[in-house]
């Protein structure tokens, strides 16, 4: 890390060159490193009929959303072909979920992902799903492919609970990544058990948490029925898009500019410092499917 101090003013100077990026880059005053190659594709799919009156996902609607999003991501008309391009029968697939008590990855979604991976030809015994036990799980010990799936939420110390952060439990000492608001979480993606294995990143936007209060950083007042999924192969691009939606919701709710606290700098440093993917909206090909009203992006 350099000894240079990056201030809010540095960000403002850079923002002039990235019009519209606004509050997004406030958290990350480093210059955005140019990313070679094509834009990162992120698919946002929403369905206003996803959640029932009790707030649970309707399985069939959710399954269709997942299929449509994956097909669009892979540029395939037939969803099964898209899944088959992502996973081979010889793969051992770890589905890294998130079991946070107040807003967990819906079990129905875990089941749907597992079913589609099986449809692609992967044996049940070669599919593992876990959150905290990635270091002890049999399948995770021999994965050739990973699926990263978790809900989007604000977070006490990291700014957001992101796809990038979801891999923190691959570390034996997760707390060692808490420094500087979890700035360098992307380093974990260099671990041999992780590097290059993530085929699919799914940010669950069914009921995102846009603000936290109290010791558990959760209050139902600050979730809303967005009824969406963000899907991509670039975790930084998906997280960055999720952050933009949370920021827009906060602006709408609080009626003032209200950056995330603390700033989700790990998302942007994953781009500028660790080159894991792109956080720059100008370099993200955002495909919007389904319900558009209130998409906030």
């Amino acid at each position: 890390m350099s000894d240079t101090v990056h201030t809010r003013r540095d960000f403002l100077k850079n923002a002039a060159a990235t019009a519209g990026a606004g509050a997004l880059y406030l958290a990350s005053p480093e210059d955005l490193a140019p990313q070679a190659g094509v834009k990162s594709r992120v698919v946002l799919i929403r369905n206003r009929g996803l959640l029932d009156a009790a707030g649970s996902p309707r399985k069939e609607v959710m399954r269709q959303m997942l299929d449509e999003a994956v097909a669009s991501l892979m540029n395939e008309k037939d969803p099964l072909k898209a899944w088959q391009r992502l996973f081979k029968p010889s793969d051992a697939v770890g589905i890294k979920t998130n079991e946070w008590n107040y807003l967990r990855t819906p079990l129905e979604l875990e089941t749907a992902i597992r079913a589609r991976i099986m449809d692609a030809g992967v044996r049940t015994s070669n599919i593992g799903i876990t959150d905290r036990d990635v270091r002890g799980d049999d399948v995770f010990g021999r994965t050739t492919a990973l699926v990263n799936v978790r809900p989007m939420r604000t977070h006490h110390w990291a700014g957001v609970g992101s796809l990038i952060k979801n891999y923190i439990v691959f570390s034996r000492l997760p707390f060692t990544y808490h420094g500087d608001s979890c700035a360098d979480l992307a380093k974990i993606w260099e671990f041999p058990e992780v590097k290059g294995k993530t085929r699919l990143n799914i940010l669950v936007m069914f009921t995102p948490l846009f603000h936290g209060t109290g010791p558990h950083h959760f209050n139902r007042k600050y979730v809303w029925s967005y009824q969406g999924l963000l899907v991509g192969t670039d975790p930084v691009a998906v997280d960055s898009t999720g952050v933009r939606i949370l920021l827009a919701k906060r602006r709408e709710f609080f009626r003032e500019e209200r950056p995330l606290n603390p700033p989700p700098k790990h998302v942007f440093l994953a781009d500028t410092r660790h080159h894991l993917g792109t956080a720059d909206p100008n370099k993200i090909d955002l495909v919007r499917l389904g319900w558009k009203e209130g998409s906030l992006i």
Partner: protein, 278 residues
């Protein structure tokens, strides 16, 4: 984990509106807090957290309730933690409270308390308010606020925006300054941040009280070097977004105004914050 008889356990009622204590009480001290709060322990530790007493309550056919009583050691720090997420000014319990969707958060003396329903029903809300009232009454006295609060000018102040802290991460949380601690905020400093005015863009005032004048001067020099290198002797500078940033100091106190719409407004806030209060 269970430990016997911490002072906070005596404040936790056995029952409230039909909700009864269930399971084992738990006590977390120091860094044990990481075991209880996923990713959130740092907030409390940065405020000098002593221990947390936690009790759960159940009532058949109703959502559960979790009571968390934090002993922060000093009333100023209990207020500081409370101030971090305050969105409105209420006083239904203790020295300041906030209720939303089944959750009551309040502070009194050195205690910061959260009563969290796993849902919200009419009966649960009644139980939460009853429990908060009882705990509040059983904490014998009120504790002082941080004295630095008195430095905040009252005119146009947004009261619910006041944040008190002594870790620089919390400054960046509410108003991003820099990726380094250029204002030298640490355990020995008291810092207060507040917004002024209404609307999408508000003026922000930061006042920091240092251990001594020398420390203040070092912080001021760092801030001017990194944030206002173009000040050239001026107290206020119009920065890249068209707003004014101003900086002033007096004795052990440093005041900085950000995002002011006019130079005069920025300087007036600085002068009011640094005014002699003797």
């Amino acid at each position: 984990m269970t430990q016997k008889n911490p002072e906070a356990s005596r404040l936790a009622p056995a029952e409230s509106n039909g909700w009864k204590a269930a399971a084992e009480d738990r006590l977390f001290q120091g860094r044990q807090l990481y075991e209880y709060i996923d990713g959130g322990a740092e907030l409390y530790i940065s405020y000098g957290f002593k221990y947390l007493f936690s009790r759960t309550y159940t009532r058949p056919g109703q959502p559960g309730i979790t009571l968390d009583l934090f002993d922060m050691g000093r009333s100023q720090d209990a207020f500081g933690v409370f101030s971090q997420s305050r969105e409105k000014i209420e006083r239904d319990a203790g020295q300041g409270s906030e209720y939303a969707a089944g959750q009551m958060i309040f502070w009194k003396d050195r205690y910061y308390i959260s009563i969290m329903g796993q849902g919200e029903t009419v009966e649960l809300k009644k139980a939460v308010f009853e429990m908060a009232g009882k705990i509040s009454n059983d904490i014998p006295g009120e504790g002082p606020l941080p004295t630095i609060i008195e430095r905040l000018p009252g005119k146009d102040l947004v009261p619910e925006s006041v944040r008190y802290f002594h870790h620089y991460v919390w400054l960046n949380s509410h108003y991003y300054i820099a990726d380094r601690n250029i204002l030298r905020i640490n355990k020995k400093t008291d810092a207060i941040l507040a917004k002024y005015g209404r609307g999408m863009k508000r003026t922000v005032l930061l006042v920091v009280e240092y251990a001594d004048e020398k420390e203040m001067e070092l912080a001021r020099a760092d801030f001017m070097k990194h944030f206002l290198p173009d000040a050239a002797g001026r107290r206020a500078v119009r920065i890249e977004d068209g707003t004014w940033t101003a900086c002033g100091s007096r004795g052990r106190h440093l005041a900085v105004v950000f995002s002011a719409t006019a130079e005069a407004k920025a300087l007036r806030l600085i002068d009011d914050a640094l005014m002699d209060r003797k």
